[in-house]
């Protein structure tokens, strides 16, 4: 079975499965490793185009 995801203006993620976590919608696309930003000067904004 596939996992279900949701996105709100605040966060993106899933209540299910291996994920069971959320990350801020505004910063989607930013590369994380073990929950930490890989490169602070390369944070991404604007990935969450509204469609």
């Amino acid at each position: 079975m596939p996992f279900q995801y949701e996105i709100t203006p605040y966060e993106f993620g899933s209540w299910q499965g291996d994920f069971e976590a959320f990350t801020p919608t505004e910063w989607l696309g930013t590369e994380l490793e073990d929950g930490i930003v890989v490169n602070k000067s390369a944070c991404v904004q604007g990935f969450d185009k509204a469609r």
Binding site: M1, P2, F3, Q4, Y5, E6, I7, T8, P9, Y10, E11, G13, S14, W15, Q16, F19, E20, A21, F22, T23, P24, T25, E26, W27, G29, T30, L32, G35, I36, V37, V44, Q45, G46, F47, D48, K49, A50, R51
Partner: protein, 244 residues
């Protein structure tokens, strides 16, 4: 920034927003219930009973619009129209006002179109939004780029920009950009409009609209192809876990 929040309870910003919305819902629900002139339900006592404990007992009402392209988008907004107290016939039918009492609005696929579009346009009435939408345009095959539609070359330029920024590009990006011209206001098909920026839209900030949630699923290896593309075929359920 809390980069990873474990899925335990709701997002703290959402909790705060919900509190603000419930104050608004309480007022709207009071108006609605008074209008109904119910004979066997003590409205003042009920309102008194839910108007304490930080609105904890104000009902959390929500509605969902299913997937199904324009059919679900239009069926869904037909329901919204019937529940909207800004439409006199809906008030007359005693259903108008329930939209104003909703805490959440969710959508999936075609149902996400109204969920995004109403807020992006400042939560107008249904009769206003259908003048903005232009479903007669065949979006994946528009001939020329206008303010209402983009041709495929223009859409591929948008995709190329995403690819050049280092992100994988999928068919969903193409459709997303094409339909953004339909549902998202702003220059170049609302390309600069982000979902996170909705927190700055007055209708959201002032708690004058339900909280939007978009729902989606993922492809799994056994999903059957449709016109050569895999489509997520399974149903699923989301349970938003309250913190204990």
């Amino acid at each position: 920034v809390e980069w990873i929040r474990p899925a335990q309870g709701l997002n703290p910003s959402e909790v705060k927003w919900v509190h603000g919305r419930k104050a608004v819902v309480l007022g709207n629900l009071a108006e609605y219930l008074h209008r109904l002139e119910l004979k066997e339900f003590d409205v003042p006592s009920y309102l008194k009973a839910i108007n304490h404990s930080e609105y904890k007992n104000v009902p959390s009402l929500g509605f969902a619009i299913s997937g199904g392209g324009y059919a679900s988008a239009y069926t869904g907004i037909g329901m919204m129209r019937a529940l909207d107290d800004r439409l006199p016939p809906s008030v007359q039918q005693r259903t108008g006002g329930l939209l104003q009492s909703m805490l959440y609005q969710t959508g999936l696929s075609g149902g996400s179109w109204p969920t995004v579009s109403f807020l992006a346009n400042g939560y107008p009435t249904v009769d206003e939004i259908i003048k903005i939408w232009k479903p007669d345009i065949v979006r994946p095959a528009a001939g020329e780029s206008t303010v209402s539609a983009a041709n495929s070359t223009s859409l591929f330029y948008d995709l190329a920009a995403k690819f050049k920024a280092g992100f994988p590009v999928t068919t969903a990006d193409y459709f997303g950009r094409a339909w953004a011209y339909e549902f998202v206001p702003g220059p170049h098909g609302g390309v600069e409009t982000t979902f996170s920026s909705f927190v700055d839209i007055p209708a959201f900030k002032n708690h004058q609209a339900p909280f939007p949630i978009l729902h989606f699923s993922s492809i799994v290896p056994n999903d059957a192809p449709f016109y050569g593309l895999q489509i997520d075929n399974d149903n699923g359920t989301t349970v938003r876990k309250q913190s204990s």
